[in-house]
């Protein structure tokens, strides 16, 4: 589906200035990979902790108390979005028709929609949850979706070279 269009888009992007710039310095890739792994650790650590709390674990920690950690999780995501775009721009041809890349983007989208839905519908309520208060079902579902989909993002990201053709 759309394979020729995607391939010609990748071929066009590959020849653009930014793409050539990414490939110009041989260590760009290694440095961005390093940042990508630091970002993912930050994201998984902070978001995973919040997810566990939403699922009802760590009941003695009041949910609102965890909120100041969130910007660090978001920072991890931003680092990975930026380095991810750099990877894509540098060698688009190894991603556009790669099934692992498609799955990874799908699960990032699921995670994103999940957190947007949760924040807009339950965000205010979440700020009132005290210690030992039972978690509403919607909170548990949001936590489970988040935890599972970030795990899938990690898995499909790791599979890029193996179920697909990226390095």
């Amino acid at each position: 589906m759309f394979t020729p269009e995607l391939q010609s888009f990748a071929a066009w992007l590959h020849e653009t200035g930014p793409s050539q710039w990414v490939r110009y310095w041989p260590w760009t890739w290694a440095v961005c990979e390093t940042l990508h792994f630091i970002g993912l650790s930050l994201l998984v650590g902070i978001v995973g902790l919040l997810d566990l709390r939403l699922l009802g674990f760590l009941p003695r920690i009041p949910l609102p108390a965890l909120r100041p950690l969130l910007p660090y999780g978001i920072a991890g995501f931003v680092i990975n979005a930026v380095t991810g775009v750099i990877f894509f721009v540098g060698t688009p041809e190894q991603y556009v028709t790669n099934i692992s890349f498609g799955m990874k983007m799908l699960f990032i989208a699921i995670s994103g929609l999940n957190v947007l839905y949760f924040e807009t519908t339950h965000g205010q309520r979440a700020l009132t949850i005290g210690p030992d208060e039972p978690m509403p079902a919607a909170f548990k579902i949001a936590g489970a979706i988040s935890l599972a989909s970030w795990l899938m993002v990690l898995y499909w990201g790791r599979m890029l070279p193996y179920i697909g053709n990226a390095f």
Binding site: A30, F37, I38, S41, V44, I46
Partner: protein, 162 residues
């Protein structure tokens, strides 16, 4: 030493991880290594940030279970790491950046252990975080960033599979 690494590399399990071509071999072990790392480093980083003053309303007592996540991640990383090392032992054993990574990981794990003892010593007021705990938290963040850097650069400073 070199003979030992060659023997390890030739064992059935190392050969399977390296050569079977199965998705359950090298790719799955590598994915487990990444998940383990994110659990280990992520849990430790969240703790470090709390100790450095982020989210001060989070009580330290219940946060102790984060160490369970941390050691679970460590166990997964070490188990998968041994398999990855076995598959490529003679090359990795002779790669300086790999030895740097091992040193940084070992130091970071020692720091994590000391961190736990510093905060959760019996009789310690759980609200006050001693300066030594903050120093350990900074050391922890720097050591993990260094370990990840060395680990990633292995793929670029070593010949063979990344």
């Amino acid at each position: 030493m070199h003979d030992l690494l060659l023997w390890l590399e030739a064992t059935a399990v190392s050969t399977w991880v390296r050569e079977s071509g199965s998705l359950w071999a090298y790719p799955t072990v590598l994915a487990a290594h990444t998940v383990g790392m994110s659990l280990l480093v992520g849990a430790n980083a969240a703790l470090d940030l709390r100790l450095l003053g982020v989210a001060p309303q989070v009580p330290l007592g219940p946060l102790a279970v984060m160490f369970r996540a941390l050691w679970t991640g460590a166990a997964l990383s070490i188990a998968s790491g041994l398999l990855l090392f076995g598959a490529d032992a003679s090359t990795k054993g002779a790669t300086p950046v790999f030895l740097v990574k091992l040193g940084l990981v070992a130091a970071a794990l020692v720091v994590a252990r000391r961190l736990r003892r510093t905060i959760y010593r019996p009789g310690t007021n759980a609200v006050a975080i001693p300066l030594s705990a903050k120093a350990l938290a900074v050391a922890s963040l720097l050591l993990w960033a260094g370990a990840i850097t060395a680990g990633r650069f292995m793929a670029y400073l070593t010949p063979g599979p990344s």
